[in-house]
Symmetry: C2
Subunit: 185 residues, 2 copies
Amino acid sequence: MEKEHLFEETISSEQIYDGRVVKLYRDDVVLENGEKTIREVIKHPGGVCVLPLDSSGNIYMVRQFRYPFGEVLLEIPAGKKEPGEEPLECGMRELGEEIGASAKTYSFIGKLYPTVAYDTEIIWMFLAQGLTFSGGQHLDAEEFVDVVKMPFEQAYKMVLDGEIPDAKTQLAILRAKTMMEKEKK
Amino acid sequence: MEKEHLFEETISSEQIYDGRVVKLYRDDVVLENGEKTIREVIKHPGGVCVLPLDSSGNIYMVRQFRYPFGEVLLEIPAGKKEPGEEPLECGMRELGEEIGASAKTYSFIGKLYPTVAYDTEIIWMFLAQGLTFSGGQHLDAEEFVDVVKMPFEQAYKMVLDGEIPDAKTQLAILRAKTMMEKEKK
């Protein structure tokens, strides 16, 4: 392979906004042709989503009002990583908080960069099996969700029919489907 | 279905930052329990990605330095919608700009909300077939990409092996794979 020419170098970085969810930076950078420009970057601690699948082939999702869209969306349980938290640890915590469950096994099924142009967010995806429902949700203040149980195959069809726009939920379901098909063979 | 209780209402909206890519707002909102809180929202015009597939089963991607990650990523051609631009129109433009191609047919293969918690971005996905390579790229200033051609099946395997972290690229390839499997039957 030829020497990598694709790069940008940071000259300086300025924090524009330090919010509860969004930390915004504006950096001066040098491009590969020597020209200067600015890059706006959202710094995000990363998140984790968990697809909980029970022994009857049902999955558990949450319906939640998503303010940027003004819509109630169907998503698998997910949340932001706390400082220093490992992805798996975060996934276990979110599964407990959002649907009141724990799982015997967690299988890593991939990660995604949702917004590569201007956001550092990474989302790790896990399939959770061997579910135990221990004692209800314990949501964050300001978090309101309804739990929805449905057959995995129905959710898979909803993804293909465009009824689940959330990227992490689509990907986790499609990746899990691929794994299941492979195991059948 | 019971009456929808999941909602949040905007009291006021303040623009915090009006950048080149990122427009950040901080809104005061009322939650369903009557409590007030703030929601930080990135407003984004939306984007389009195109999976270009030729008659020999090859696809065309671009390698591009992505500043938030400090990594060169492999992605299908994509870009932001211009004001008033339709998704298909944007996809045709980006296909021309990034890989110098036009296509006979564009099939809509779904849309995704990459970052539902704090960003209004929507990405539309198209499969482009019947490709004509007309005359090279004409990239935006400050845009540097290398075009990569590879068999669709190789890219599909890379998605499953976790070698393509970009969400839109993963989803477009998985959705296209599902379509192709269905057509085979």
